[in-house]
């Protein structure tokens, strides 16, 4: 299949996830399980024969949802509740919620109150990542999640099925990581929107179908020569739950930027870490959960020996990036609390960075463009000085 056709299919699923889910359900007659970000193991639902999909913020203005959540909740949570209130989630047979932040908890309650016929599976994960009991507590959480899932499906999920799902998911992640590596080296000149479509569609599509398309895509870049690009190389950081709006990414690239790396959830954060393929699958998932925070640190987790700011500075050196743009979703408390540390570390290291606060309701792109263009001019003039 041609690259354009593969990318079109990824973009289609990324642009309308619930339509993809409806079509899949109609085709297979199987269950669809939606989940909130960030640490839900899709492997479990996949092994149970369901389609796991991570629920996505839409561009629609918040209407009905205003009656449930205050306007100072983040755009992702308000969009989730709004979609639920408008009946958009009728395709979902179950929704899995985690307790990653207070706002996600609020959204979970709002949805639970209104979708009384949809099975809600709630799971809690220990947020302290380096205690002696972290592995054990994580195993307990995933074992409980498995048991709830089995209860919902009505049958046991076999270890063999889980191992097979883990291998498939790992393969999918490895292929996307390969694309990231190729983009960094310039041999896969994928734009920021294209890369988002690759990752976002992986959160939605049937994993085998997605992996097959990915293999074909990666093969087309194998052996390619690096394309010289004189644009300013930047790393994109932030957005732990929702995808940055494509028009924002487009605007950033129009300012003479090439995105060479990211730690976005709809980016490298999602595919950074594999699940161990050996041993009991629940233990493997617990290990994956813990490793993810060293793969790409998350401000919602607490780990004394891991710094997100140090990780970002390392990533920028590795990517040979000239600077970083931080995309902070408005009212994202974990990000707001952690950002001062990132700012301080970057200023100390002399690495330029620009903070952009993003909003569900849209942004004044022209004004933002002036800020990004200025940032690019700063980076260029500093390099020339």
């Amino acid at each position: 299949m041609e690259r354009q056709e593969i990318m079109r299919r990824f973009a289609e699923a990324a642009g309308n996830p619930l339509s993809y889910a409806r079509a899949w359900k109609e085709r297979t007659g199987r269950k669809v399980i939606g989940s909130f970000p960030m640490n839900f193991p899709g492997e479990l639902a996949h092994a149970a024969g369901a389609l796991p999909m991570i629920l996505q913020e839409t561009d629609d203005p918040i209407t009905a949802g205003h009656g449930v959540l205050f306007p100072f909740y983040c755009g992702f949570t308000r969009s989730m509740v709004d979609q639920a209130m408008r009946g958009e989630f009728d395709v979902l047979d179950a929704i899995m919620f985690g307790d990653h932040c207070v706002q996600l908890l609020g959204a979970a309650d709002g949805i639970r109150m209104h979708l009384t016929k949809t099975r809600v599976i709630f799971f809690q994960l220990i947020s302290s990542m380096c205690d002696p009991w972290t592995q054990g507590r994580s195993e307990e959480s995933f074992a409980k999640l498995r048991a709830e899932l089995e209860d919902f499906i009505g049958e046991a999920v076999a270890d063999d099925a889980m191992h097979a799902s883990i291998r498939l998911f790992n393969r999918n992640r490895a292929l996307i990581r390969k694309l990231y590596d190729m983009r960094k080296k310039g041999t896969a000149p994928l734009g920021a929107i294209e890369m988002q479509h690759v990752v976002k569609s992986s959160m939605i599509m049937d994993k085998a179908e997605h992996t097959d398309l990915l293999q074909q895509l990666v093969a087309q870049f194998e052996g390619a020569k690096a394309t010289p690009n004189r644009a300013v190389r930047l790393h994109l950081s932030g957005h732990f739950c929702q995808a940055p709006k494509p028009e924002l990414l487009e605007m950033i690239e129009e300012c003479g930027v090439v995105v060479v790396g990211d730690d976005l959830y709809h980016g490298f954060r999602y595919i950074s870490t594999d699940v161990p393929e050996e041993g009991p699958p629940v233990s493997a998932l617990a290990r994956w959960y813990m490793d993810r925070n060293t793969g790409v640190p998350c401000p919602t987790r607490v780990q004394n020996n891991v710094d997100w700011d140090a990780y970002l500075l390392d990533a920028i050196r590795d990517e040979r990036a000239d600077g970083m743009i931080v995309l902070m979703a408005k009212f994202c408390e974990p990000h707001m609390y952690y950002y001062p540390e990132v700012k301080e570390a970057f200023e100390k290291a002399g690495v330029p960075h620009l903070l952009i606060e993003t909003e569900h309701e849209g942004m004044a792109l022209e004004s933002l463009k002036t800020r990004v263009e200025t940032f690019v001019e700063i980076v260029k003039r500093r390099e020339a000085a």
Binding site: L368, T370, R371, T374, E377, A385
Partner: protein
């Protein structure tokens, strides 16, 4: 080679043009008022500056545009953002400035400048017209007073009132309420300017307070805005003579840098020029065989014993021959 460059600040309410000679001296400048990002206004501004300088557009070696309409100017060879240009222009006007407060028609920005005169950090109003010239314009209309009288009237304020809303529309409602309560226009306008100052202080907080502080942009010509901002900052503001043209000046200076870099083989500094003149004069006075260093010259027809180190050097050369 052309002997002049032009910087054009295609702003939201005014267009500014600066023409520089190749030494960086301002030859002409102009400010034209216009409607929202008007092509006619910017053309008028460029025409006025060219007429003042007695030059034609074709005499410009480089044209750099900045401001809201920077991408719309056909004559521009390059464009840069108003933040980069205002910082450059303000530092040129006030050497050593470390913080630039620029309040223009539709935006306000605070730029921190490093010791090399480069932009270190910046913050700008990103959502509404709060704290901008437009904010003042709306509120001047609400109190039925001309924009040019606004500052002097506000300076006569006696009682401290408070306008808490930063939104121009909501602030207008507050202004009307205060007037309806019987407060004099002077006090109400004092509160309006105090609100702008607090907004500016917020932007300063985002990039870090440091001095010397220079204020540019049209609002720098409003004495009440300057007074209240100084009071809020607890620091003096340095006001250039022509604060409105800082962006255009910065654009012209960046254009000059580019033009110089591109034609560096044609450029010689004044110092180099003088050195070359002296050399030519010396060459003319030289004896045959001179290679441009007269004191080392040797007249082949006049045998004079060399002196000191030169003697030993020449001796060595002769031995080798």
């Amino acid at each position: 080679m052309n002997r002049h460059v032009m910087g054009v600040d295609f702003g939201s309410t005014t267009a500014k043009t600066v023409i520089l000679d190749l030494s960086g001296n301002i030859v002409a400048h102009s400010v034209a008022h216009m409607g929202a990002v008007s092509g006619d206004g910017v053309k008028q501004s460029m025409k006025d500056a060219l007429e003042e300088a007695g030059l034609a557009q074709s005499d410009m070696g480089r044209v750099v545009a900045t401001g809201y309409g920077r991408r719309m100017l056909d004559e521009a060879d390059k464009n840069y953002t108003e933040i980069t240009c205002h910082a450059r222009g303000a530092v040129a006007m006030v050497p050593g400035a470390r913080l630039v407060i620029d309040i223009g028609g539709q935006d306000s920005k605070v730029i921190s400048v490093d010791s090399n005169g480069l932009v270190a950090q910046f913050a700008m109003n990103d959502r509404c017209a709060a704290g901008t010239g437009k904010f003042l314009e709306v509120l001047a209309r609400a109190v039925e007073i001309g924009l040019e009288e606004l500052g002097d009237t506000a300076l006569q304020a006696r009682e401290k009132l408070k306008i808490s809303s930063m939104c121009a529309t909501f602030a207008e409602t507050e202004v009307i309420s205060l007037l309806a309560e019987g407060h004099p226009k002077t006090d109400v306008l004092g509160a309006v300017h105090a609100a702008i100052a607090m907004r500016t202080l917020g932007l300063v907080g985002r990039v870090g307070k440091k001095g010397p502080v220079v204020m540019t942009g049209g609002v720098a010509k409003n004495p009440a805005a300057v007074h209240y901002i100084q009071q809020a900052l607890e620091m003096p503001l340095i006001l250039p003579k022509t604060p409105q043209i800082a962006g255009a000046l910065g654009a012209a200076l960046i254009g000059l840098d580019d033009y110089r870099a591109e034609n560096k083989h044609l450029f010689i500094s004044e110092h180099e020029d003088m050195a070359r003149e002296e050399q030519m004069a010396a060459d003319k006075a030289c004896i045959p065989g001179c290679r441009g260093v007269p004191e080392l010259a040797v007249d082949p027809f006049e045998k004079q014993p060399p002196k000191g180190k030169l003697k030993s050097l020449l001796g060595t050369i002769q031995n080798h021959i």
